[in-house]
Assembly symmetry: C2
Homo-oligomer: 647 residues x 2
């Protein structure tokens, strides 16, 4: 757009952040390759096309980012996550890439050892060896620890026997399985010398080089899905399939030739969660991609809303641009502000991933997992909600496939429940406390437990927020009690989080070994709220920190308004809590709504520039309603009406 | 299900209501015909199959319901609406039926006169003459009064010349246009003797009997959509297309041979809204169908949730049925209660349609339009939200096409913006006040205006609510201040409505001819709220009346709980308003949340029986997860685990 009220270059660079060069590289490689969305093809052609695109992408050098330097990669986990989210305009390709390089390749990197790396990673990077990540089973999706596939060691043959004991144990929704995958990382209960050691991962060939299914392996097609039909999801059954002992990904647990089990981690539970923890990148990628899809949807809806006119403005004979309606601003602009906030929170999360990857800090790892789970839940729900709103804001035009929103909606829909069901993710940490730390509960006094729960639950992350010092400085400097005062907003978020956690602690302390489930279950809405308000606060902190590092005063001013809008619309959404807990007065509650309306009006003239600043690759913006069709029709109509006034 | 805690037969009969025989007839005819969803076909085959199904349905006698007795119909408008909603398992067929019989046929009935009826209705009923309803244009969807197609009378040839002056005036999203339609009801600005008389409808042939496009007509295909791909939506352009004078649907406006215009209604605005008003049936059908689709989605999700298990219950070794989790109950059970409430509100609406159709009461017609607009908005949003929630509640299984939720979601999505954009619908009446009654504003004093606005806006409907006397009796009898006291709940809904309307009146009275747009636009969120709280109240009244007419005490008891859950979860959703306006105390606000949790627990054991009571045709329930696959897998797993414990 012309003449934005801010420095678009600096804003882009602030948004592109630490991995700006990766973002640029993907933008360029999209320009050179034919990676466009192929949703209009039938299922089989769509799958074939997506595989071709995967191979094109393999040649671009982008997938190597996340792999070890020793095998020709860049060892840049953060860059690898950022590169995936840039594929938001072709989500089948993004998910297929995520399966091949993030999940399948990532598991070989994280759970395997040197000889697995040397033997497989180059072929994985080049997509010569298409693979699957076979964790979920029909009977156990969220509760992975209970899955039923077995891998039983046979010391005579020095092989593992991988077996699906019944239908509920078949591997379900496995990407790359129905058509392309040749090998799978299979998660199974490892049994050796008559003893079970919990879930471990093994490499199991499922198809030969000609694409024939291997002996003992049966694969079914999951068929059509709501979206992502370029990805060939399938179900895999194993009937006593034998693989060499070396196929066990043995970083965290190994079986000697004679069947002796060994592991660097004694506790079975801890070992399991350590293995899962190394796979965190997939979850972070889903958060990033959901955020990117919401930005693209907002760009389509805002460009259309800035052009589309409907209903005469009384007394003028001119029709009103729909983005001038308060109701339309209300639909789209708080979502734009939240997209900014989530963008910076995601950037911090990716940096944390990068830092944790370089160290061996268990506490930092746990914080990373908690934050990734929370942000993944909040961002995927934001995407589902925002894309739905954008579809409705575009009326019938939004329903046509050509205008992209239908595809974005259908493709992103599954993100709220895969790579961890959102509701489960928000509960995981709290739930773990009730079961794993049950013994410790009894020994701790009333207040002690509340603090203990709070600390364990999310407290650690509170301490380590990257923006902590900035936020504290702003809170300390604040002495106003004005709703546009950042210190007041921050204090409100902080206080809500502390109060909710404290109350939750007090409820959970009533748990004993007989009533643990009931106490926890009755408090489940409270548990979910605790996780949500915590993430809200982290996200606000991230946006506040971004405003703080903004150099150009015009940019700082507009980001400041977005930050007000994010903070106040979040407070407005949860106004009932603030009133119920007498944190704000009824009069102030009304002024929050008034301020949100006013901020919408102030941001409205910059809305299109602000959404363009995200730098979504131009190749992804193909919707006719967002690329000039509406304006051109109006110009023709205006010229016609002037020449031929209605009698 | 076995042994429900209530009389399932009586509940079904209460729910089936006045048009029980129509519901039974459709249930039977589904059993006899092959009307199943054909979403798995490619676009062209899907369209062909949907046309075949339309013809099968034509033979069932069901479509005749809404047509005049004189042409062989039943003259039962209510039955016709009810029969359409019963098609909720094949929404392409429902929409294609709605286009053919409701919109196209309905327009010929309502806007045409005797000779149109005699000439066309039999062929429309039999689907021998497939037709289109060509109202919306690319440039004007919501603002129909401004559409740009012209129909200019040529007195020499005694013909109308129908013309699309530019691209924005092409007819857009027209169902039946891309493939099957042979005739269209075209809405155009009628011009005769050099004078424009506003929008009128004409019959324009678009294809001959062999399917060739008529001269001067150009048709484009809208292509793939998010859903409803069995319906062939297209764009129609007219290039000076000539039709005989008799093709004008001339009930509300006619042109004599010499070109003289005449109409029984003098005002152009009133004439336009009268014509639109006769087409209200389509909007009511969309509300009914959305409600029915939400019920089907809830049945799938509840049946799965009642079977699916995940995570061990501490200390038992048994996994927890997911519907036992509070968070899962919270997702599905308030939506079930709202589905009950909306069901009875829809039944009242259809009865009102039936009554208005028999009389000539202008005030009743206006009330019907207001209520239809509001219920359509609320029910379609309920469907979008509920089906999304059901999809997420079923995890990955909900994403697979075989489990139906993907299709229900995609197909119903457009309902929030077609047959009137929801946001526009909620504003229409209030907006009309500001423009049409502008003069009257100035002459009325401050308080007078508030009352005037309130009366005009929705007041009329308040008076005429079918449940009025029952509700008043309950309110009068109430002396308790208990949240489970129905009188207290009703008073809270009534009081909120009155207060919001009163406040809106006070804001709008500031409008004068210079600032009308700004005053209205700044209050737009307030306008939307006024409409919403009004509809909330109407819906609660309808459910209260249903509880009142329930004979079986066990049924009354369970409906009573559903009514509490609907009332209290609606209050909870808008808790901020009640607190902000000091209608409830913070302590009471907390007890509302607690009561919703407890009601969820009390309704949970009956959830599957309650959703089955809706009597959704069994043919529509095909999702494997809702028809036994999950239970059978668990049985096999349990037997296996008992025989082969993990070492």
């Amino acid at each position: 757009m012309t003449n934005p009220a801010f420095d678009a270059g600096e804003l882009r660079s602030l948004l592109d952040g630490r991995w700006a060069s990766v973002r640029e590289k993907v933008r360029d490689s999209l320009g050179e390759n034919e990676l466009g969305n192929a949703d209009d093809l039938d299922t089989e052609s769509h799958r074939a096309r997506t595989l071709e695109q995967l191979r094109l992408l393999a040649k671009s050098g982008v997938p190597e980012l996340g792999f070890p330097v020793a095998q020709g990669g860049s060892g840049d986990q953060g860059g690898s996550v950022v590169s995936l989210e840039m594929l938001c305009g072709n989500l089948s390709l993004m998910v297929k890439s995520g399966v091949q390089w993030g999940l399948f390749g990532g598991a070989v990197v994280a759970l395997g050892t040197e000889h697995h790396h040397e033997r497989y990673l180059r072929d994985i990077m080049s997509a010569e060896l298409p693979g699957c990540f076979a964790m979920t089973e029909t009977g156990h999706g969220s509760d992975v620890q209970s899955l039923r596939t077995t891998a039983t060691y046979d010391p005579v043959a020095r092989e593992f026997v991988v077996h699906t004991p019944h239908e509920a144990a078949r591997k379900e929704y496995i990407g790359n399985a129905a058509r392309d995958g040749r090998m799978a990382v299979v998660f199974a209960q490892l049994i050796t010398a008559g003893e079970s050691h919990g879930v471990h991962a093994l490499l199991v060939p499922i198809r030969d080089a000609s694409g024939n299914t291997c002996e003992g392996v049966r694969i079914e097609d999951c068929g059509r899905k709501a979206g992502l039909n370029g990805v060939d999801n399938g179900r895999i059954y194993f009937d006593q399939v034998r693989v060499p002992r070396e196929n066990l990904l043995n970083r965290y647990g190994d079986v000697a030739e004679d069947g002796t089990y060994s592991s660097p981690i004694d506790s079975q539970g801890k070992r399991f969660f350590t293995m899962l923890g190394t796979l965190i990148r997939g979850r972070i990628s889903v958060a990033g991609t959901s955020g990117a899809a919401a930005k693209l949807a907002l760009e389509i809806a805002l460009r259309y809303a800035d052009a589309r006119r409907q209903f005469d403005r009384p007394g003028t004979g001119e029709e009103v641009v729909v983005l001038d309606y308060l109701a339309h601003q209300r639909k789209l602009l708080p979502a734009l502000a939240k997209s900014y906030a989530l963008h910076f929170a995601q950037e911090e999360l990716v940096q944390a991933l990068d830092e944790v990857g370089r160290g061996d800090d268990e506490r930092a790892q746990r914080e990373l997992e908690s934050r990734a789970a929370g942000l993944k839940a909040v961002t995927t729900w934001h995407a589902t909600h925002t894309i739905q709103t954008c579809r409705e804001a575009c009326g019938g035009a939004g329903y046509l496939t050509e205008n992209q929103l239908a595809g974005l909606k259908a493709d992103t829909d599954v993100f709220t429940t895969f790579e961890g069901d959102n509701t489960v993710l928000l509960q995981l940490v709290a739930k773990g406390l009730l079961t794993d730390y049950k013994d410790q509960f009894d020994g701790i006094g009333t207040l002690g437990l509340a603090k203990f729960v709070a600390d364990q639950f999310v407290g650690a992350v509170i301490e380590r927020s990257a923006a902590h010092s900035i936020v504290q400085r702003i809170i300390d400097a604040s002495n106003k009690d004005d709703i546009l005062d950042r210190g007041w907003q921050l204090k409100l978020f902080d206080d809500r989080e502390a109060h909710v956690l404290d109350g939750l602690g007090r409820r959970l302390r009533k748990a004993n070994k007989d009533n643990a489930f009931e106490v926890f279950n009755n408090a489940q809405d409270h548990v979910l709220r605790a996780a949500r308000v915590h993430i809200d606060r982290l996200v606000l902190d991230a946006l506040v920190a971004a405003v703080d590092r903004c150099q150009d005063p015009r940019n700082a001013e507009i980001l400041d308004k977005l930050c007000d809008l994010y903070a106040l619309s979040t407070i407005e959404e949860d106004k009932a809590w603030f009133l119920e807990h007498e944190r704000i007065s009824p009069r102030r509650a009304k002024s929050v709504t008034q301020a949100v309306n006013e901020l919408c009006g102030e941001i409205r003239p910059h809305a299109v520039d602000l959404v363009e600043a995200f730098g979504t690759p131009r190749q992804w913006l193909t919707a006719p309603i967002a690329t000039g069709a509406e304006t051109s029709r109006q110009d023709i109509q205006r010229a016609h009406d002037e020449a031929n006034p209605l009698p």
